[in-house]
């Protein structure tokens, strides 16, 4: 075990002005750690809600023929699964991690705008209550897909304004969260914490926050126009009134593609924290990692139409979007190379966070490669709307974003709770997830290439075998996530031993200079230059 051997004092910080009582501690809290915990707990609940929908979808697809869902409910489940997982599970998890870690990694006492931080979080439970309650209204939950394409989505029943208002609320929450992250990073860094000394997780979040501010209003604009088309007689997207339904797709994907990077850039930051720690080497090519992240963010704005090659567009446009999409492989390749080079000749140990990070490297790369295949416009005409696309984006978002979140939780959990978790159980969670996520999603490549369409509750018998395999993988992958909750629960309630301040032998960042659990109010006084320099040693290879 790489846990530091020396017995560090295990401080009990209960005396540090934690508010007492549920209302003051959790509802009116302005503490970044408490708000981070709220985000993470909320995200975990949504992960299981979205996961339950995925189980129903896979149960329906277990064999050909209609089993127990009607087609409208099936379509609602695919739509809501996506909305819940994207806006309720992945994004809040990253915001929760940012809340916990950004101030601690910068030497700041809290987020810059703590009340807005509280407001950003507490919008979310209302937004998702509203969204999920659409299952109960006339016409059922939205069923036109998470992309909300008109004119299909305008056939939604009473749920349409509810879903649109929920999307507006999520957008407002995300924008406020992003503003808070940017202002914290720009204004609250400890003296001496220069931009190029910041940990990669902070850098990736700074860039992500700018992406959020740039594109969440675009989604809000698009859904507002849907609303006015439906209720106020406008024809933004109504061809009969002189509007253009394809314009919605352009506007949606101008948001939607950067949104993909909003969900993966913080994951890149996490992996850049974990790999140096467990390789016991500084990160290879820190500056290049920062520039690569910024390049990916820039490119994410000029590739959107690769999601809609089949709508029909000029050949020059197809070529432009095909080639610009392929360009993204360059900075992404820089990152994968640098992570591999960090591990090269490192003294690697395989604790759970490192297992998740290594798995991320392999499996996210599979998602990246299938993305390159989809970027080839003529080939995309074959892949469009098949299970190949489903396999691709689940490799990116599950084995990419969610695996990084799992790794982050296993990495920082001892710092948060002051306790070490059960390593055996955590490794069981990793191996079961890692094996069965591939059983779940890899066969979907075959199904897609064989022509199975997505968002269909029934299918031809030729697809039966791989669907059954995929469903079995899904059930075991889903069930193994219960281990994750057990590990966290046990750790929060005493764990197997007390954690030291550094927790991991190779950990060097500023957060590891604090005791475990991190004090309720950390860095009340800014860290000294010596502490900052020691923290930056994990990535500082330049002069």
């Amino acid at each position: 075990m790489a846990q530091t051997e020396h017995a560090a004092a295990h401080d009990d910080h209960d005396h540090e002005h934690k508010p007492h009582g549920f209302w003051k501690r959790w509802v009116t809290t302005t503490n970044h750690k408490d708000i981070g915990t709220l985000y993470l707990v909320f995200s975990c609940i949504m992960f299981f809600v979205g996961g339950a929908m995925a189980m129903l979808i896979r149960a329906e697809l277990f064999k050909p023929g209609m089993q127990f869902l009607d087609p409208a409910m099936f379509n609602s489940l695919t739509t809501m699964h996506a909305l819940v997982m994207i806006f309720g599970a992945v994004m809040p998890a990253f915001v929760g991690l940012a809340n916990w870690m950004v101030p601690m990694q910068l030497g700041a006492p809290d987020m810059a705008l703590p009340r807005m931080n509280n407001f950003s979080f507490w919008i979310l439970p209302f937004a998702f209550t509203l969204l999920l309650s659409t299952f109960l209204v006339r016409g059922g939950a939205p069923a036109g897909g998470w992309t909300l394409y008109p004119p299909l989505v305008l056939q939604t029943g009473d749920a349409l304004p509810m879903a649109i208002f929920a999307v507006h609320l999520m957008g407002a929450s995300s924008i406020m969260g992003a503003i808070n992250v940017i202002v914290t990073i720009m204004n609250m860094r400890a003296p001496g914490m220069t931009l190029l000394r910041m940990p990669l997780f902070v850098w990736s979040w700074l860039i992500t926050a700018y992406l959020l501010i740039a594109v969440m209003p675009v989604l809000a604009g698009a859904v507002t126009m849907l609303l006015t088309d439906h209720f106020f007689g406008t024809s933004f997207f109504n061809a009969a009134g002189g509007g253009d339904p394809v314009m919605f797709q352009h506007i949606f994907w101008f948001f939607g593609h950067p949104e993909v990077y909003i969900m993966i850039l913080p994951a890149f930051g996490i992996i850049s924290e974990i790999i140096p720690t467990f390789s016991r080497k500084p990160l290879f090519g820190y500056d290049a990692m920062v520039y690569a992240t910024a390049s990916i963010a820039f490119l994410s704005f000029i590739v959107w139409a690769h999601h809609m090659f089949t709508v029909g567009m000029p050949l020059a446009s197809e070529l432009f979007f095909m080639l610009s999409t392929m360009l993204i492989a360059i900075p992404t390749g820089v990152k994968v190379f640098n992570w591999s080079a960090t591990m090269w000749k490192g003294s690697i140990s395989y604790e759970p966070p490192m297992l998740w990070a290594i798995s991320f490297l392999f499996l996210f790369s599979i998602g990246g490669f299938s993305g390159l295949m989809l970027a080839i416009a003529p080939a995309d005409f074959q892949y469009q709307d098949t299970y190949f696309v489903v396999a691709h984006f689940h490799y990116v978002l599950v084995t990419g974003a969610i695996f990084a979140i799992m790794g982050a939780v296993y990495y920082w959990l001892p710092k948060w709770t002051g306790n070490m978790y059960n390593m055996t159980l955590a490794k069981w969670h990793f191996w079961l997830s890692n094996i069965f996520v591939n059983v779940l999603f890899f066969p979907q490549h075959f199904l897609g290439l064989a022509g199975m369409p997505r968002r269909i509750p029934d299918y031809s018998t030729q697809f039966a075998d791989w669907n059954m395999v995929s469903s079995i993988g899904g059930f075991v992958f889903g069930a193994s996530q219960i281990l994750f909750v057990i590990v966290i629960w046990q750790c929060a309630h005493g764990g197997v031993s007390k954690a030291t301040s550094r927790v991991w032998e190779g950990s060097l960042g500023l957060e590891w200079q604090l005791p475990s659990p991190a004090p309720y109010h950390s860095w009340v006084e800014a860290p000294s230059m010596a502490v900052i320099e020691a923290g930056a040693a994990s990535h500082e290879t330049h002069g």
Binding site: T30, V183, S235, M247
Partner: protein
């Protein structure tokens, strides 16, 4: 303004707080401007 908790970071240096609020307002204004500009763009393009 009374801080919500004794150690609340709202008690940061007033100059820093002013800078933080200015930057936050600027970013908020940018977000609102993007929202409005997209609807205006669609109004011109989409014959609403």
């Amino acid at each position: 303004m009374k801080p919500m908790a004794e150690h609340d970071s709202l008690a940061i240096d007033p100059r820093q707080r002013r800078q933080a609020r200015r930057l936050a307002l600027l970013l908020g204004a940018v977000a609102i401007a993007i929202y409005i500009s997209y609807v205006v763009f669609a109004l011109h393009h989409g014959h609403a």
